[in-house]
């Protein structure tokens, strides 16, 4: 009670320096509550930010940051001159764009379709079923699809052969690898991503539907004139959030799925950082890759947000 009264009695900014200290001392117990969280934040989130400095060094793990040689921008020059990096950046953007264009609308469609179902039991069963893959680890999903898509005896190729085609080795063929990545990502997350839209659909005022059906609007007309506009704010919000992770093309997924045969089309920034940093112990270079990637990502978010504010009148900041 005392603490609230003390803090509420005046505006924080208006006090002088001594008052500020009194305020901090008076609320020491608050800071005590925050202490564990802050320690974790400082140690495992803030310290690694300082560690990003190794992108400007020729880092040696035995001498540490203070003992390593400073090399300025040379890691970035190496990056800009490496063919690998641009291939990886383009792969990342392509896979990510395919995922957004092909997979973002599907959960919305699922939510709209589910809304038309009148039998609650059927609706709930479908919902539970389509959520399930979200709980599987990528290691398991990759293992499953490697077998299902196998050119020798896998389900999909059996069907292709039965229809008179030739077996395709989906996971070792550069032409198909990206499609496999997009499709399996859809299998895992589409149902789960529908949750937010299902909740949004449930929040629409039912009276609008009654009014519309009195006016003679059919179910399909109602879907496009009431349901879809009703969830549009949620759609836009989710879309902006999705754009924010444009440069995350699915590191874990690709790491568990790919093999050297499809590096050309499948290697993305996350997997590249892994191979350079941990495989070849080139910590400085892979941190530089991460830093460059994040800078590009940041610019993309700013652009996406500006476009959305201009054309959709909605933005995250």
């Amino acid at each position: 009670m005392q603490t609230i009264a003390a803090a509420d009695s005046g505006s924080i900014g208006a006090r002088g320096k001594s008052g500020r200290w009194k305020l901090i001392r008076g609320n020491l117990d608050m800071y005590l509550l925050l202490l564990p969280g802050l320690i974790f934040l400082l140690l495992f989130k803030y310290t690694p930010m300082y560690g990003i400095l190794i992108a400007f060094q020729d880092f040696n793990i035995f001498t540490g940051i203070s003992g390593s040689e400073w090399v300025g921008m040379s890691q970035f020059e190496k990056l800009l001159h490496s063919d690998d990096f641009f291939r990886v950046l383009i792969n990342t953007l392509l896979i990510s764009l395919y995922k957004i264009v092909l997979l973002f609308p599907v959960p919305i469609a699922v939510a709209l379709l589910l809304n038309e179902v009148r039998r609650m039991f059927f609706k709930r069963t479908i919902q539970t079923v389509i959520y399930l893959p979200h709980f599987l680890s990528w290691v398991i999903i990759s293992g499953l699809f490697v077998t299902i898509l196998s050119p020798t005896g896998g389900l999909v190729n059996e069907v292709i052969v039965a229809l008179g085609g030739h077996p395709i080795s989906f996971l070792t063929d550069n032409r198909f690898f990206r499609s496999v990545v997009v499709f399996t990502a859809g299998w895992k997350e589409v149902g789960w991503n529908a949750i937010v839209f299902i909740a949004a659909v449930a929040g629409i005022d039912q009276e609008q539907y009654e009014a519309a059906s009195i006016d003679g609007a059919g179910r399909i007309r109602q879907m496009f004139s009431i349901t879809l506009p009703g969830i549009m704010p949620t759609i836009v919000l989710m879309f902006i959030l999705r754009i924010g992770s444009l440069l995350e093309a699915g590191t874990e997924q690709i790491l568990t799925m790919y093999n050297p045969l499809v590096y050309d089309n499948g290697d993305v920034i996350g997997t590249y950082v892994y191979r350079m940093g941990l495989g070849q112990q080139d910590y400085s270079f892979s941190t530089a890759v991460g830093l460059f990637n994040s800078a590009v990502g940041f610019v993309l978010i700013v652009i996406g947000n500006a476009l959305s504010r201009k054309f959709l009148q909605r933005s995250i900041w």
Binding site: T3, A7, L34, G37, A200, L255, L278, S294
Partner: protein, 273 residues
């Protein structure tokens, strides 16, 4: 009237097709887990003719160390995230203190930093702390990352608790600690459970980080263990699929039963925010 019935059956058919596509790989995993390599080749689609249930015994033997490693890491991480974040969220939700807004903004800022930026420095840090191949190499960073979003969601929820309830405890002479234990915790139990489940799920299924920091055969988590398991030559598919089923089915069952909390946690974060 006729078009209505027609469009309704198209709708049902689409949803059923969608559910079928979702279930088929899972069904495939379960039936293949009891087939020999020869039967997998000759009888890819059908139910097993001669189920080899002993695969479950032998694969359990292989992955039980990994399973208990993952169990320990997920459990401690979830408890850690809940304890650390509920304390912080309580302070953020209930009091005004110097630097509150700045601190909260800092949290949000860290939430937006892409993982790929700090993964190598974080690895170097964990290595320098001598934590490689100990469960703490996974647990401590998991708590540090997990708390960010949890504090955010819990703060929103704690702020929704009516002020009068706090007042009445205070009038009865209760302390802040008492408010926290006997009001906030029971009131927010669904959201607390839901955030705990989210943490369990994320840490149990995480692959990239444990691959870096827990390479030792005895310390590996389940995902990394399964990955290595599948890598081997002379693969015995039945055993691999039974290991996968053991690794995933308990989790799917657990989450089917707790789905309500889960969905609540997810939508309360996304819709309110």
């Amino acid at each position: 009237m006729r078009t209505k019935a027609w469009s309704r059956s198209v709708n049902v058919a689409l949803l059923l097709f969608f559910a079928f596509c979702t279930l088929y790989p899972l069904y495939f995993m379960l039936i293949s887990s009891v087939k020999t390599n020869a039967e997998l080749q000759s009888n890819f689609f059908g139910l097993p003719l001669d189920p080899q249930f002993q695969y479950y015994g032998s694969s359990l033997n292989k992955i039980k160390t990994y399973m208990s490693n993952s169990g320990v890491i997920s459990a401690i991480s979830a408890i850690g995230v809940l304890v650390v974040s509920s304390l912080s969220a309580y302070a953020f939700a209930r009091f005004r203190f110097y630097g509150k807004d700045a601190l909260f903004f800092t949290l949000l800022l860290f939430l937006m930093i892409p993982g790929v930026l700090t993964i190598i420095p974080q690895f170097v840090l964990v290595k320098n702390l001598g934590l490689i191949n100990t469960p703490w190499a996974a647990i401590l960073p998991y708590i540090a990352s997990g708390q960010l979003v949890t504090i955010f969601v819990m703060r929103t929820f704690f702020e929704g608790i009516p002020k009068e309830l706090f007042e009445s405890i205070k009038i009865d002479g209760g302390s802040e600690f008492r408010c926290f234990i006997s009001l906030v915790i029971p009131f927010a139990l669904p959201i607390i459970l839901s955030m705990g489940l989210v943490t369990v799920l994320n840490t149990w299924n995480d692959f990239f980080w444990p691959l870096l920091v827990l390479p030792d055969q005895q310390k590996m988590t389940l995902t990394v263990g399964l990955y290595r398991f599948m890598d081997q030559q002379q693969i015995l598919y039945g055993q691999v699929f039974s290991a996968m089923s053991l690794a995933s089915v308990p989790l799917m069952v657990l989450f089917s039963f707790t789905m309500k909390f889960f969905v609540q946690g997810l939508t309360s974060g996304a819709i309110k925010a």
